[in-house]
Symmetry: C2
Subunit: 420 residues, 2 copies
Amino acid sequence: MSGDVKAYMQRLGQQARAAATVVASADAGQKNAALLKIAAVLDASRAQIHQANQKDLENGRQNGLNDAMLDRLALTSDRVDNMIEGLKQVAALPDPVGNISDLHYVPSGIQIGKMRVPLGVIGIIYESRPNVTVEAASLCLKSGNATILRGGSEAIHSNQAIARCIREGLESTGLPVDAVQVLEITDREAVGELITMPEFVDVIVPRGGKGLIERISRDARVTVIKHLDGICHVYIDDRADPDKAERIAVNAKTHRYGTCNTMETLLVHKDIAGGVLPVLANAYAEKGVELRGCPRTRSIIPSAIEATEEDWSTEYLAPVLSIKVVDRMEDAITHINHYGSHHTDAIVTEDFSRARKFLREVDSSSVMVNASTRFADGFEYGLGAEIGISTDKIHARGPVGLEGLTSEKYVVLGDGHVRQ
Amino acid sequence: MSGDVKAYMQRLGQQARAAATVVASADAGQKNAALLKIAAVLDASRAQIHQANQKDLENGRQNGLNDAMLDRLALTSDRVDNMIEGLKQVAALPDPVGNISDLHYVPSGIQIGKMRVPLGVIGIIYESRPNVTVEAASLCLKSGNATILRGGSEAIHSNQAIARCIREGLESTGLPVDAVQVLEITDREAVGELITMPEFVDVIVPRGGKGLIERISRDARVTVIKHLDGICHVYIDDRADPDKAERIAVNAKTHRYGTCNTMETLLVHKDIAGGVLPVLANAYAEKGVELRGCPRTRSIIPSAIEATEEDWSTEYLAPVLSIKVVDRMEDAITHINHYGSHHTDAIVTEDFSRARKFLREVDSSSVMVNASTRFADGFEYGLGAEIGISTDKIHARGPVGLEGLTSEKYVVLGDGHVRQ
């Protein structure tokens, strides 16, 4: 069996590599036509998708999936609408491939520029949500890459139904059907193969829990564009406008609890803590947010639980917030760079020099002044869509959209120039 | 002993990590002052450097190093001059760190831009040439990174003498001495530790033979910016200007034989082969270049040896050239993408559409029209200097200068903005 899985994955890899060279030079019109055609086929295949999804849901219930997991698995009519809308949005985005930037003459007389090019073959590994199949496939296709998708075993029928729609859309617009391949097997070894075939796969994007991502990063033989924790901070400086501070601190925590750009720790300058913390405590109490504080916080908010060392490096993804009072902005920066996850961190201040220093010294993929951490998102940043948020420094950092799925090569133009 | 090496490397890693946060926010003036001070100290320490180098050369001779190896190891007065000159050049380059690009408003009213930031800690592994110590250290320092350098064991005394100069330059300008650390031990295990400490080292740049680079890539737990082969092509199209074609084909092969951007295979369109190949054969004969050809090439140049399948994927690094006649440009592109190493490839043509297609479809880090492959170089590209040429697609491609040693983070500016 092991040999079979390996052979199957190698075949997928070869097919992806061959398809990648074709989609790399496909023009935007053709890729957009395919995306819109896939949307149309999805729309016409709602009954088949529903049927396949029902099978997955039934199996899931028999296998004891909890309600949250079943909810993620369900392809409601709204979610199919969203997939269709997503495809149209990606079709409407500008095509990054082939863009030449900074073409300029150098002293030898040649012109040098950079052309944006696809990465090649992208492997995507994701958990139960079957709508990721369309999202990921559309971004990879638009950026000129071939994809191999490995969804969760509990969503296998839904993913196969969606894969058929994608294949039909590709075929009817003359693009290679192997440009998007969805694994037909659910063997765990398949993942092991996918992440260790550098000859066929150029980059891996895992989407799922931290355990999945850590496992893949440890074992992969190719670059992994990964997002681990989102331990985001807001620091309220003593020179903050209290209204802005309260608005941002409430929004960053309570707008949504389960997202990676939600604030998990609030840092407050000692000279403004007495002013803003009681107001914030009321606002959080209204929303049912549990507060855990350092001793100085607790002297201002007596209802706060005592924060432990562990709290400072915990991503709650829940209505829980840790709060720490600091003596100076520099201590906030040190805390963030030490305990944070280099995802998204914000300062609230009206002080120009502090804003400037915070922006430079906080080592995170997004650093903000007077804005809610919740803005760290591909749509809000105008990338159109994102395949994930990278907390790495290499290759891609922050929300990864179409451009993050490409690279650049040098182009050199001469007129018979030779090197002296 | 093994535990000792591990502990030693961990200590270096911790020191580097601490130093990295300081150099990341050092301003350009301070970094330039350090670079110029290191140059001055090197100049004042010529006697000590010479003495240390003599010790390495003596040991090398006793250990049976051949003349080429001893030559690479030798720090002549000219080479010390070059190190000093190199430091001044890097000091004169613009500092990429902190540059904010594309700062623009989005519909929510926030401003979004990207700030260039250092990678953190860079590990450099290189072979005998001790002048690499200064080159690599200066580029990493200027780009705001800390470095751990591991040179060849045969150059240990020279490298330590240079390391002392670097340390003195850093210290006297108030930068942390641990910003540049040169290993004091020559144990092989040290390399194994260096490439598997993702907590302390962010990226590895190996500089040396293919064997070294392959070994490091296989075992590393962090991203490796690597350059494997340089199997570069020139394709002479039937619509080429024969004068330009001959000039470029001669320059690309004979300007220097041992460099990675030297042409190793010449591809010629069948309709122009009879015209250009005899002229080229004479030019190559004059320079003593051995020719290996496909059957059609040999019918035009009878003196050419028969090329084997292996020739098409060989980096000779020597006065040897393989030549193949092709039917159409598309066959040249297929050949290049299949047998090449994605380094640098050029077309010679006066045809606009073919130039456009070649630029788009050849999957190499540098793609050229009517220019010699020898131009693929950090200095020629105006990067000022290069730490290497990457044949990877992820993160950095082509000549890697200061910018290749940095990443970008998002900066977001608001005025109390929250997400709706």
